[in-house]
């Protein structure tokens, strides 16, 4: 494809409609009150929406090959960062160490009435 645009433009309004519906669903999901369902819906739909936007609006899939690879590599490195950091920051106890401060925060927060004003 070139910027002088000899690309086939799909029906963007349709795609937009799908995106809106998805957004609505993910909000409606919160009314079920089932935690795992809410989270699953929310993030599952987020991924789908992101894919639709990237594919149809940003035209990633018909862009030069290296572009999608580039973006995927970026996401992979972010995942590496998460994997390397989480064992120390996400967990509050490990081999011969424990994050007392965080544990206490969790304790206090879970009981407090208005945790925002801790």
């Amino acid at each position: 494809m070139s910027s002088q645009g000899h690309i086939h433009h799909p029906n963007y309004v349709q795609i937009w409609a799908v995106l809106v519906v998805l957004a609505v669903i993910s909000v409606l999901g919160t009314f079920t009150g089932i935690r795992w369902l809410i989270v699953l819906l929310a993030f599952g739909i987020a991924v789908v929406k992101a894919y639709l936007v990237a594919k149809n609006f940003m035209h990633v899939t018909i862009e030069q090959r290296f572009v999608p690879y580039l973006l995927i590599i970026c996401l992979a490195f972010v995942a590496v960062l998460f994997a390397g950091v989480a064992p120390d920051v996400m967990k509050h106890r490990g081999l011969f160490w424990e994050n007392r401060a965080a544990q206490q925060a969790v304790e206090a927060g879970s009981h407090a009435a208005a945790p925002a004003h801790e």
Partner: protein
Amino acid sequence: MLERFMTGASTYSGSVDHLIFLIAALVGFWLIVAEAFFFWLMFRYRHREGRTTQYVTGDEKELKRWISVPHMLVIVCDLVIVVGAVKVWMDIKQTMPPAEQTVRIYAQQWAWSFVDPGPDGMLDTGDDIRTVGELHVKVNTTYHFELLSRDVLHSFCVPAFRLKQDAVPGRTIRGWFRATRPGTYDIQCTQMCGMGHGVMAGRVIVETPEQHAQWLERVSNPAFAPQQAVSSPAPASAASAQVAEVRP
């Protein structure tokens, strides 16, 4: 080998030294080989009138071998080093031999303070002994320590024990050591902790059972205990002295 630079006074100081020696031997060998070959090439192929350079792309099999074979050998050496390193690491940081005694170490700007369980051997009891700047331990006794920080990052380092562990505020980090040689050894703070970082010293005093008993006897006498804290020499007071003199 490292003994020449710094005495080793813990059970694992020897294994650290051996690992350093192993790595030194392996990488030393490669360093010498590489440098020697490098300088020989420099001499052998220095410019002389009428010498034409050879057109070598580096893809020729027989030449590539000169890279690939050493390359494989280096990988082998790396494997040896990984095994050695992980073994020592596991021994020092990932295993905890059963404790015969447990002490608590507080780091703060800019002094070390220690809680010794006292005669009953239990922390957080009435007879705990708090000292500043001096950690008294029995020789040939496995100590566990709980490392805490009151303000910023510090690092509890006893070079003679080959021991180093950062103290992180909000966290309790546990480790162990077993002193093998009576004597007095430096405690350093090896994590930048502000103005007094360079004077945040302490001493670990490794005592024979008798000496240790005497010390216990001396400090667990209630009349003495308070002064023990304040009258403890060097670090804390020195630090504050430094602070005082540089304050504008």
